[in-house]
């Protein structure tokens, strides 16, 4: 019998997650995406690649779009983290969620949470983005279904709606 592997060193992580404070013991090397999916059970955050390639895991850290698969969870100590689950307020869809739904900015839906979070970060810093701005802001988010046409239309439609 082999000895069990040494348990990784954990530390207490306190962060403002989707509108409330939360504390968990988290391994120092744990990735934010694994913390969100496995500990906080926020499985709207997707893993589509082996690290930093596809954008499906995009979340907001202090309002900035961040790939959570190449971010350490402990780096978010004391910071605000938002995932797709935190966007709808009291069951009312956020304007991007509404637009992606109505304009078919989503097909299989796997890239959608990351795509919407990246677009949310864009609209917060630039409420009236040009098409070029939208393309630049979403260039790190891959989609294999839509050819991106309806994603651009969705973001444009959302930008024309009051937040």
């Amino acid at each position: 019998m082999h000895a069990p592997a040494a348990q990784p060193k954990k530390r207490l992580l306190r962060l403002w997650l989707n509108g409330r404070w939360r504390e968990d013991a988290v391994a120092e090397q744990a990735l934010l995406v694994d913390y969100l999916r496995e500990v906080a059970q926020l499985t709207g955050v997707k893993i589509g690649c082996d690290g930093g390639e596809c954008g499906a895991c995009t979340v907001l850290v202090d309002g900035e779009a961040v790939p959570s698969c190449i971010t350490l969870a402990v780096r978010c100590e004391g910071h605000e983290v938002e995932t797709i689950e935190g966007l709808a307020t009291q069951g009312r869809l956020n304007r991007l969620q509404q637009a992606f739904h109505e304009k078919l900015g989503t097909q299989c839906g796997f890239c959608t949470p990351g795509m919407i979070m990246a677009a949310e970060a864009l609209l917060r810093r630039d409420p009236k983005p040009s098409e070029a701005d939208i393309r630049a802001a979403l260039a790190g988010n891959l989609c294999r279904c839509t050819g991106y046409v309806k994603i651009i239309e969705s973001v444009q439609a959302a930008a024309e709606t009051a937040p």
Partner: protein, 775 residues
């Protein structure tokens, strides 16, 4: 608002009925399912391209604390495969490995770290064999056979000849022959592969949730490989993050996960990395094509001779179907008096290829549309004119006995010619700019299914109970293409009720009727027809109840949210009242609808003649506008105009999305996507190396829906997801030729390939100058 009112007021279509789950993050894909206290599965993969396994020792892995099960090929002696006649693969290799990355052992452990440490403890000793990475090398006379029963490393060769070839060549004013080379590509659906299996030793039952596109195939192969009674197995579809053909065949990890769950007597989650997802492959093969066409001066085709060699990878998979499709779909788009096809599906020591969007037809179509354009140019014919010179007239049969029941290609051509401003702009664009066009088509479901069981092609059940909700039970695999929404619309339109009244339960083998799944774009045509049939049967029950209650004749009753007698306002019944009446003495209602392709639609009598047969072909034409920068050899697609004859758009919003997505996927293949192997080692197994177009470089795609109203399609509909894909690569290459007068015969058109062609042209120009000066 009822469906018929919605249709009258607005033909924009409706959002997906499962769309809200996707935009809120509530949608649960396989890796998101409850996996508390689940064992984690991992697979050990071969580091060799071709080798005999001498010793595989898992004792140390088994002894590791936290390891619950370790399996090798010894634990599954039954081969599997999608085609009953070509099952030559094991979930875990037995005796021999044939590609780098082939699964050889698997572990289930308490966590991922333990499972990975266990893999590292497995000892493997092999005798290395010669490996072949190209079709030519594998077909060399002295090559070692990958499979002993397949001489020449040929999985299948196909030789078809239709019409009078000699006459075809005799009548041709121009005969041209060219060779084309299309790189291997991958589906690259964004969701990595995953499977969750639970085995309960107390009841002997197995439950599997997986990324499959065809749960029925998975179900059959699980029963076969695990040697289980299929009644003890349940396959449930979670949300699926795209497929594009990747998940039509049963995949090794799906069977391995179930084997691990049984061995561990528990629940196992297997999540493949992106690299492993690429290695699992089953996508479009590297293809060499030699194409020869004969043409009269007026552009009329007289003859077609085509040889296709597909490098199929290490196992059979779908190979036989792919090589047959390439030949069969030479026909069905144009009227060609004589066609000869020679196809070769070759084994090589690489991950197995399989079905991918446009299965078998895309590379052949690329060659055809490129050569057609070049011959038209030589004869000073417009690209549109040469295609119009060769149109079919529906209804008709092709030489290889494919039925063409509706044919909207002429209108597709007119539409994109007009929309792109072709006539005013062609030949008048500034330097470096070009326009190109091409046509394509695809089947609306294979008319002959792989498993010839005699069952209908599709069955849909409808349930109606006290709550007044209509529940459609379908085995159709919603994978993002919108098939559940299509079923809901078909039911709601037929009953003239609100779409909100319809709920769709898709694909749970314990609940929904068997369906052949999401492949060959079959669902709209087949399941759509079955859904309409079921709704008509439910309507008959409801109308009868309403007639009784209203004391009216059945023929006078109008079905809907409100049942009416004739046009009168005096005697109406609300839907709920009709349901209550219908349930008296009967209780909960279940009706069935089905759809079957008649035998005369199931293809020719020649060997392999069933492949390519369908009830309805979709047709597409597209124009691509490019800018070419000769200094950097980069091509930019400025705009695409694509028209698709989908018969009738049941959901126009979804049809647009499918046209855009398929055109764009064709663009990826045309411009940047290719797998790459270094001595069999996958070198493009990530999204950084396997380059797909990002949003930054994806063009506007104008879509046009042409409705030819197929006589057999549901409301006249045909497929919309695959037909437009194959037109993009040739339209792009034709546009580049228009822009810079260089004909390219290799895909993808990467900057280095284009730069090579530009350098070669400069060299030839210099040489010509020197020769001229010397003479």
């Amino acid at each position: 608002m009822t469906m018929q009112e919605a249709r009258a007021s607005k033909r924009a279509g409706v959002p997906l009925i499962d769309g809200i789950d996707k935009v809120t993050g509530k949608a649960r894909y396989t890796a998101d399912l409850d996996h508390n206290n689940t064992l984690i599965g991992r697979i050990l993969r071969s580091p060799y391209s071709h080798a005999e396994i001498i010793r595989l020792d898992v004792a140390k892995a088994r002894a590791l604390d936290g390891v619950v099960a370790v399996l090798t090929g010894d634990d599954c002696p039954r081969p599997y495969g999608v085609l009953p006649i070509a099952m030559n693969e094991y979930p875990l290799a037995r005796g021999r490995v044939r590609y780098r990355g082939e699964p050889i052992a698997a572990v289930a452990a308490v966590d991922a770290d333990t499972a990975e440490r266990a893999l590292a403890l497995i000892e493997l000793e092999v005798k290395v064999l010669p490996a072949y990475y190209t079709s030519d090398a594998a077909r060399a006379p002295d090559a070692v056979l990958l499979h002993d029963d397949k001489p020449g490393n040929l999985e299948r060769d196909v030789h078809h000849e239709f019409g009078d070839l000699r006459q075809g060549f005799a009548e041709a004013a121009l005969v041209r022959e060219e060779k084309f080379d299309c790189a291997e590509i991958n589906h690259a659906q964004i969701e990595p592969h995953a499977s969750l299996a639970e085995f309960d030793p107390a009841t002997g039952r197995l439950s599997v949730q997986s990324v499959s596109q065809v749960g029925y195939y998975l179900h059959l192969m699980l029963a076969h490989c695990l040697d289980m009674d299929s009644s003890r197995i349940r396959v449930i579809k979670p949300f699926i993050g795209g497929g594009f053909g990747a998940r039509v065949e049963v995949l090794n990890f799906e069977i391995v996960t179930a084997l691990l769950a049984r061995a561990a007597a528990g629940k196992v989650l297997m999540q493949l990395s992106r690299e492993e997802t690429f290695i699992t492959h089953r996508a479009r093969p590297q293809t060499d094509i030699r194409l020869k066409l004969g043409m009269r001066k007026d552009g009329r085709l007289t003859v077609c001779e085509c040889e296709v060699v597909q490098r199929g990878g290490a196992y059979a998979g779908y190979g036989i179907i792919t090589i047959l499709y390439a030949g069969a779909l030479l026909q069905g788009l144009y009227d060609i008096p004589a066609v000869k096809y020679d196809g070769y599906r070759v084994y090589a020591n690489l991950p197995p290829c399989g079905a991918m969007r446009g299965h078998g037809s895309v590379n052949m179509r690329h060659a055809f549309e490129c050569l057609l354009d070049r011959m038209a140019r030589e004869l000073k014919l417009d690209p549109f004119a040469v295609r119009r010179a060769n149109l079919l007239q529906a209804p008709t049969r092709t030489l290889n006995d494919l039925a063409v029941n509706s044919y909207g290609l002429p209108e597709c051509l007119d539409t994109v010619e007009r929309a792109s401003g072709w006539r005013d702009r062609i030949g008048k664009l500034p330097p470096g700019k070009g326009l190109g066009m091409a046509c394509s088509h695809y089947v609306s479901g294979a008319a002959k299914p792989i498993h010839r069981t005699g069952e209908p092609h599709a069955v849909v059940n409808l349930r109606l109970d006290f709550d007044g909700g209509v529940t459609a039970l379908t085995g159709a695999y919603e994978i993002g293409q919108g098939s559940s929404t299509m079923v809901a619309i078909a039911v709601a339109e037929t009953l003239n009720i609100s779409l909100n009244r319809v709920r769709v339960v898709a694909a749970d083998s314990a609940v929904t009727p068997k369906d052949n799944g999401a492949y060959s774009s079959r669902i709209t045509f087949m399941v759509g027809n079955a859904a309409i049939d079921a709704a008509k049967n439910l309507k008959a029950v409801l109308v009868k109840a309403a007639a009784k209650k209203l004391e009216a004749k059945i023929d006078d009753i109008e079905c809907g949210e409100v049942f009416r007698v004739g046009k009168g306002e005096q005697s109406n019944l609300m839907f709920a009242d009709v349901v209550a009446t219908a349930l008296v003495d009967e209780g909960a209602i279940t009706v069935k609808g089905s759809f079957t392709c008649p035998p005369d639609m199931q293809g020719g009598k020649h060997r392999g003649g069933a492949v390519g047969s369908t009830m309805g072909f979709s047709y597409a034409a597209q124009v691509v506008e490019v800018s070419v920068d000769e200094a950097t050899a980069t091509v930019t697609v400025d705009k695409v105009w694509a028209a698709l004859d989908c018969g009738h758009a049941i959901n126009p919003l979804a049809v647009e999305g499918q046209i855009q997505g398929s055109v764009w996927m064709g663009m990826g293949q045309a411009m940047c996507e290719e797998t790459h192997y270094l001595d069999g080692l996958p070198a493009h197994a990530s999204f950084l190396e396997y380059r797909m177009p990002t949003i930054a470089e994806s063009p506007p795609i104008e879509t046009y829906i042409v409705e030819s109203r197929d006589p057999n399609g549901p409301f006249g509909a045909k497929e919309a997801s695959e037909g437009a894909l194959a037109g993009f690569p040739p339209a792009l290459v034709n546009a580049i030729a228009n822009a810079i007068k260089i004909d390219l015969n290799e895909l993808p058109v990467t900057p280095d390939r284009l730069m090579d062609a530009l350098i070669q042209r400069r060299r030839q120009a210099r040489l010509a100058k020197t020769v001229k000066a010397a003479s």
